[in-house]
């Protein structure tokens, strides 16, 4: 495990933000910390990147202890925070060379790596413009490029696409996907289920400072059951009659029927409807989304 954390706890004043979190990330994989604001995602990232001390628990990155060997940890990681950490009054190129120098690359190597990254992130045309003239998407790409300059073994991305328009988000996803292909380990936080679904090998669902569930996107979806068939009726009368003959949960004018996703089951449902003279306005089949998973798993503490 290249990232390993055991029973991390942290409070700010009387507020407990982490209640004992365990994490294991195998080398070369992508782990997504998924949860709403205030779930503790950023605090975990800050502890693992040596920026915040945990109150209890321990963590190692590539075998280095984050509390006892912070300098070694900083040598193998990089962090891209929620707000693009770039100097507005330096050009893209100057920002990159600066970070390369601070990573002790040496001037020629820093320049060479800068040129490669500008190319990779499509910033070559803008490299000599000051960053304050960049769009939000360009800033995030530059920010990510700055994180990659010394080819870190573990990359932390704290909400890498928050606030980006869909086109910039998709460019960012492609850039992250490329890193994954190169075998870099990535730990990212996100509020977007779609993002975790698309990028992560393993998802850790967080709520109120604790882990609610862990697994692949598919495993999490399976945890709350498989597919469902959704029937929408024109009026209450029909809905009522349908609930009498089919097992399901009614919600407004919609009846949700658990399904195994086979054609045979769909046939059966349609046969029952025909035999009872029922005509739904609309029939659709749904795979559960991570939204469903999240709501289902956190619903008990909310109600």
């Amino acid at each position: 495990m290249i990232v390993e954390a055991t029973r991390l706890r942290k409070s700010f004043g009387a507020t407990e933000v982490l209640t004992g979190v365990d994490l294991q990330v195998p080398e070369g994989s992508v782990l997504a910390l998924l949860g709403p604001n205030g779930a503790g995602k950023t605090t975990i990232v800050r502890i693992l990147t040596t920026l915040t001390r945990p109150d209890a628990g321990q963590a190692t990155i590539a075998g280095y202890d984050v509390l006892r060997e912070p300098a070694q940890v900083r040598g193998v990681i990089s962090l891209t925070g929620q707000y693009a950490a770039v100097d507005e009054n330096q050009t893209g190129r100057e920002n990159l060379v600066m970070v390369g120098r601070l990573m002790h690359l040496g001037r020629p190597a820093a320049r060479r790596r800068t040129a490669e990254l500008l190319e990779q992130f499509g910033l070559t045309d803008a490299m000599d413009r000051r960053v304050k003239t960049y769009s939000g998407g360009m800033r995030r790409r530059l920010d990510l490029a700055m994180s990659l300059i010394a080819q870190p073994r573990v990359i932390f991305l704290d909400e890498p696409t928050t606030g980006l328009d869909p086109a910039s988000r998709s460019t960012m996803w492609d850039a992250i996907g490329e890193l994954v292909r190169d075998g870099t380990t990535i730990l990212l936080t996100t509020q977007y289920l779609e993002e975790a679904d698309r990028l992560a090998d393993q998802i850790v669902l967080l709520d109120k400072g604790g882990i609610v569930a862990t697994g692949t996107a598919d495993a999490l979806k399976a945890q709350i059951g498989g597919e469902r068939i959704e029937l929408r009726f024109a009026d209450e009368m029909q809905l009522l009659k349908a609930t009498g003959v089919l097992d399901g949960i009614a919600d407004e004018l919609v009846l949700n029927i658990p399904s195994d996703g086979t054609a045979a089951h769909l046939h059966h449902v349609l046969d029952v409807l025909r035999d009872n003279g029922l005509q739904p306005e609309r029939v659709s089949s749904h795979r559960p989304t991570l939204d469903d998973v999240f709501l289902a798993l956190t619903a008990s503490d909310r109600s």
């Binding site: 990147t49 040596t50 920026l51 915040t52 001390r53 300098a71 900083r74 040598g75 990681i77 990089s78 962090l79 925070g81 929620q82 707000y83 693009a84 950490a85 770039v86 100097d87 009054n89 330096q90 100057e94 600066m98 970070v99 120098r101 601070l102 990573m103 002790h104 000051r130 700055m146």
Partner: protein
């Protein structure tokens, strides 16, 4: 510290100085104002108030050392703002997650501050000569005066860096450093303390700026030195040690939670 550690630390400091100087050069408004404002003040005191103030010498000869200290105060408040900008943006997290010594970040800002102040001070001196400032100083006197001013600027820049570290925003950094602009008015910069009311005189005579001004004055226009040289040196050295300790410990505190 190993030899390699020391050279890496030096190279980090150089990179951060390079950054701060570049950012400062591009902040044209601030640079312009930090040079223009002291010149306007000098013109104001020499041409408007000066005629009414009797100091026993040509007023411009009296006031130039004071203007020089006022310039550095303004320069230092810009440093507080630059540090606050880093501390309150994502930049500080990026810098801290890099394998560099925390000291390098503040060193960059302080060095840029000293450089900017040296330039603006030189320009103010040239302007004052053009406006009729006639110092009676030899090369050694000039060197001594410049040396003391640099020491003062260095100490004040570290103090400003410390204020920048604790400020919650760029605006509050500018407010916190306001007293650096105000203190020269309560010194012997513009009028002799003897002319102030009796309750204000001790404040004026025993604050750090007065001995520094009196020492520079003594070097440049030959007024009696008295103990001022040693007092000024003690103030500046003490302030420097205090400010470096304060700024670095505040920095460590603010960045480890």
């Amino acid at each position: 510290m190993s030899h390699q550690g020391a050279s890496a630390g030096l190279s980090d400091a150089v990179t951060m100085i390079d950054r701060s100087v570049r950012l400062m050069r591009r902040n044209v408004d601030t640079l312009f104002v930090s040079i223009l404002l002291p010149m306007l003040m000098m013109a104001l005191f020499v041409y408007v108030f000066g005629g009414a103030i009797n100091t026993g010498t040509e007023y411009i000869n009296y006031v130039v050392p004071g203007i020089l200290l006022l310039t550095t105060g303004y320069g230092a408040s810009n440093t507080a703002m630059a540090v606050a900008d880093d501390m309150n943006s994502g930049m500080i997290d990026r810098l801290r997650s890099l394998p560099i010594r925390s000291f390098a970040v503040l060193t960059g800002h302080v060095t840029a501050s000293v450089a900017r102040n040296a330039v603006s001070t030189a320009i103010v001196i040239l302007a004052s000569l053009a406006m009729g400032f006639r110092p009676a100083a030899g090369p050694a006197d000039w060197l001594a005066a410049i040396g003391l001013l640099l020491l003062y600027v260095l100490a004040l820049s570290w103090l400003a860096a410390g204020l920048g570290v604790i400020a919650k925003s760029v605006e509050s950094a500018s407010t916190l450093s306001f007293f650096m602009l105000f203190l020269p008015y309560l010194s012997s910069a513009f009028v002799q303390p003897e002319t102030m009311p009796s309750w204000l005189r001790p404040v004026s005579e025993h604050q750090p700026i007065t001995p520094v001004i009196e020492t520079v004055r003594s070097f440049l226009i030959g007024t009696p030195m008295g103990n001022n040289g040693w007092i000024a040196l003690a103030w500046c050295t003490g302030l420097l040690l205090f400010s470096v300790t304060l700024a670095t410990s505040l920095y460590r505190r603010r960045t480890s939670h």
